[in-house]
Subunit: 77 residues, 2 copies
């Protein structure tokens, strides 16, 4: 299976969701990207349709916004 990508920014909501997603899907099936530390990837995330974190991109390219931690606009600031 192609990997899912989990975008987060280190916020408490993100960390909690990350634990949940990894325990549901399995660590080896998820690539975790910290947009607070890798700001160059924010534009790429936006192109995938991500508007806030935490968010999960499924292997078929759908975006699941999970709860709400921060908007990408805030991360750019």
């Amino acid at each position: 299976m192609k990997k899912s990508v989990f975008y987060h920014a280190g916020c408490p909501v993100c960390v909690s969701a990350e634990h949940d997603i990894i325990s549901l899907i399995g660590k080896s099936n998820v690539e975790v990207v910290h947009l607070g530390e890798q700001k160059t990837l924010i534009d790429e995330a936006e192109q995938f349709g991500v508007s806030s974190v935490p968010a999960l991109i499924t292997p078929n390219g759908n975006v699941l916004h999970i709860n709400f931690g921060a908007s990408l606009t805030d991360l750019k600031a």
Copy 2:
């Protein structure tokens, strides 16, 4: 593993998220509850912390609100 519970209300956002979640986690690991058809379960969902659908309750009781289809308040109407 204890099952997750996926709450939805048949809306397009819900159906799309349901497909994604089932393909990520596996059909046998998710109990799907249609709150539009089983309105008596809305109160129970609220007690778990669900405020909108689609939402997933993880086996350890955390609530993941996934995207946004409808609020539980609207479902009660």
